[in-house]
Amino acid sequence: MSTQAIYDAIMEFEDDDVVEAVKEAIEAGVDPQIILNEGLIGAMDEVGRLFSIGDLYVPEMLMAANAMKAGMQVIKPYLKGDDGGKGLVVIGTVEGDLHDIGKNLVSMMMESAGFEVIDLGIDVPADKFIETAKTNNAGIICLSALLTTTMTTMGETVDAIKKSGLGVKTMVGGAPVTEEFAKEIGADGFAEDAGEAVVFARNLLAS
């Protein structure tokens, strides 16, 4: 029994088929770690490749991530230790800003790359970011802003996180946010898009 059926079901964005294929593989005695790496993450790597060359569009990437997540729910109890061990990320849109599409995209991509993500949603005050990161021992806090007028709040939030004394790293993103701005406000990282955010987060936690 291979993991091909799981891989194929993700490539076809069929949540139910992924769940069924993962269950069948478990029953057939396939090593859960192989189901995860070759089936679920293997398919998401291919999705990422196809997206980067422009063959897949954003909705397809999201649907694949959802299908992968459905499979993850089934396999999770069978995995030893943590769920891939890539680190915990707290993410949210800064206070005063209600926009969340970009943030959701980053959140989903990080989850499908094996990060554990706590998504605090929109309009998140600085202390909520800090409190959640502290309680869950997060490695990274990701801040999002769409409005040019809420970018200043982003700076204040990064400041507050630094002052809190937590060892957590900060990453920022959103349409008006640039690498230069990220440096200006003292954030540890900046990503242009969701794919870049995942790569950056991996590097940030490895450093």
Binding site: G54, Y57, V58, P59, G96, L98, H99, I101, G102, L105, D123, L147, T148, T149, T150, M151, T152, A175, P176, E180, F181, D193, A194
Partner: protein, 466 residues
């Protein structure tokens, strides 16, 4: 007496207009609109007001600075406005993209004074040098100090809004005088599609509506992301959101002037990027304009934006196609001047070219000026076959008012053009430099300026620096 032939193109069949209206009303009645998750519009409050919207026949009285610059909708349509609130500017000296400052706002205001195509100055950029707590006054002060035209923009908080209103009152000589003739037009994006209302922006709209000051909102559904991936689905949703905002405003102050401003776009789903320059943006604006006419409300908003990062051919065709479509469909107001890269950076040469596009749109709106005299039957008879019209008094009498003579577009023959080999962007920059060579900064009387500066200690200088 010339009769103006209306240039109007319908993108929606009459029945589709009604269907869209009815479907939007159904969406609002069934779903309501989520205002900060807690203050949901109640179904009861929606009924009646949705119906009365059509009969209001609303007229928006825009802002006023100086008599010559009074703008009234729909009388002065099409009204052309600069694009607003870009964080960056393309530095006019180095060509580099950098954060914009309050001096840039003062400079841009002086440029806009000289560009006849623009009727209202929506503050083009943010001001990075704003002192703490003065983000908004650091934008409005240089704009009002330097610009002769009405000023428009937004504020992030009620405190900022109150500061801006205080600034207006000092300039006008008191709160009542300002209210009598408000020269600031406030604009917000109170709706976060789908069907949600942003708390701070909605609070600002409520605050200004209660005070009877000019305010309107732009609604921005993004097909494939925040609205359905069909043109009509996005039209229906954006229309429903306009009805939600209208209902709120009309509940607060029945008869309050409205502008139907919806910037529906289609997301580029290859990347998820925002695509205001897409041709579908223009098509949706045309359809929304038709819906606005159905309700009897002036229409328009952000149309003619570009995704291009430099002032190139893409800039020209994205702005040109979408504004022309909107004009032909009857849009009254165009927020279109000077911004690159989906509203991220102001560019001087783009503003000059947009000014030329604005003047061309206004010429197109003027139409054919049909009259018996203008048919020139006698003249055609007189000149006869093979004659010339070049040396006639009739030609001389009409030539300056009939045609629009562009300053940026070249009509030179190849040989002459080769002497400079200039591009449209370079010719636009020549115009910018010429304007600043002769520019004399407009400013407030000394006592008003002193009063402003003592009210807002540490405020930016707000002067032109070129």
């Amino acid at each position: 007496m010339a009769v103006l032939l209306p240039l109007r193109f319908r993108i929606l069949h009459l029945m589709s207009t009604k269907d869209t209206g009815v479907t939007s009303a159904e969406i609002m009645q069934e779903l309501g609109s989520d205002y900060g998750k807690e203050k949901q519009f109640k179904k009861k409050a929606m009924e009646g007001h949705l119906i009365s919207m059509r009969a209001l026949g609303l007229i928006e009285v825009e802002t006023v600075n100086i008599d010559d610059y009074d703008i009234v909708l729909p009388d002065n349509r099409p009204v052309v406005i600069t694009g607003s609130s870009a964080p960056n500017i393309i530095d006019p000296k180095t060509g580099e993209d950098r954060r914009a400052t309050s001096s840039d706002i003062a400079n841009i205001a002086n440029l806009i004074n000289e560009l006849d195509g623009f009727d209202v100055f929506s503050i083009s950029t943010l001001a990075q040098d704003a002192p703490k707590g003065q983000i908004s006054v650091s934008r409005f002060y240089p704009a009002l100090k330097n610009c002769k035209k009405p000023v428009r923009s937004n504020t992030p908080t009620i405190k900022d809004l109150e500061d801006v209103l205080e600034l207006g009152a000092i300039i006008a000589g008191g709160k009542e005088a300002y209210k009598e003739r408000p020269f600031i037009n406030h604009h917000y994006c109170p709706v976060v599609s789908p069907l949600t209302m942003d708390v701070d922006s909605t609070d600002a709209v409520i605050y200004l509506t209660e005070k009877g000051l000019p305010v309107y909102g732009t609604i921005v559904p993004n097909a494939g992301m925040t609205s359905p991936m069909t043109m009509t689905g996005t039209l229906v949703l954006g229309n429903a959101e306009f009805l939600a905002l209208s209902t709120l405003i009309q509940l607060i102050r029945p008869g309050a002037p409205m502008i139907y401003a919806v910037l529906s776009t289609v997301a580029d789903l290859r990347t998820g990027n925002y695509a205001p320059g897409a041709v579908e943006t223009g098509m949706l604006q045309m359809a929304h304009s038709q819906m606005a006419r159905f309700y009897g409300v002036p229409s328009g908003g952000y149309i003619g934006l570009t995704n291009s990062q430099i002032n190139d051919a893409q800039c020209g065709y994205e702005t040109g196609i979408n504004t022309t479509g909107a004009l032909l469909a009857g849009s009254d107001m165009f927020n279109m001047g000077g911004l690159l890269g989906s509203l991220m950076a102001f560019d001087y040469s783009k503003a000059v070219i947009d000014n030329e596009i604005a003047l061309m749109l206004k010429r197109m709106k003027r139409g054919m000026e049909f009259s018996e005299e203008n048919l020139c039957l006698d003249l055609i008879h007189e000149v006869g076959p093979g004659g010339t019209y070049l040396d006639l008094k009739h030609t001389q009498k009409n030539m300056r008012k009939m045609a629009f003579y562009p300053k940026v577009a070249t009509r030179e023959m190849r040989k002459k053009w080769e002497a400079s080999r200039s591009t449209a962007e370079e010719r636009a920059f020549e115009q910018v430099n010429k304007i600043f060579e002769n520019s004399v900064q407009k400013t407030f009387p000394a006592e008003i300026d002193e009063k402003i500066r003592s009210n807002f200690p540490g405020l930016v200088k707000g002067d032109m620096v070129w």
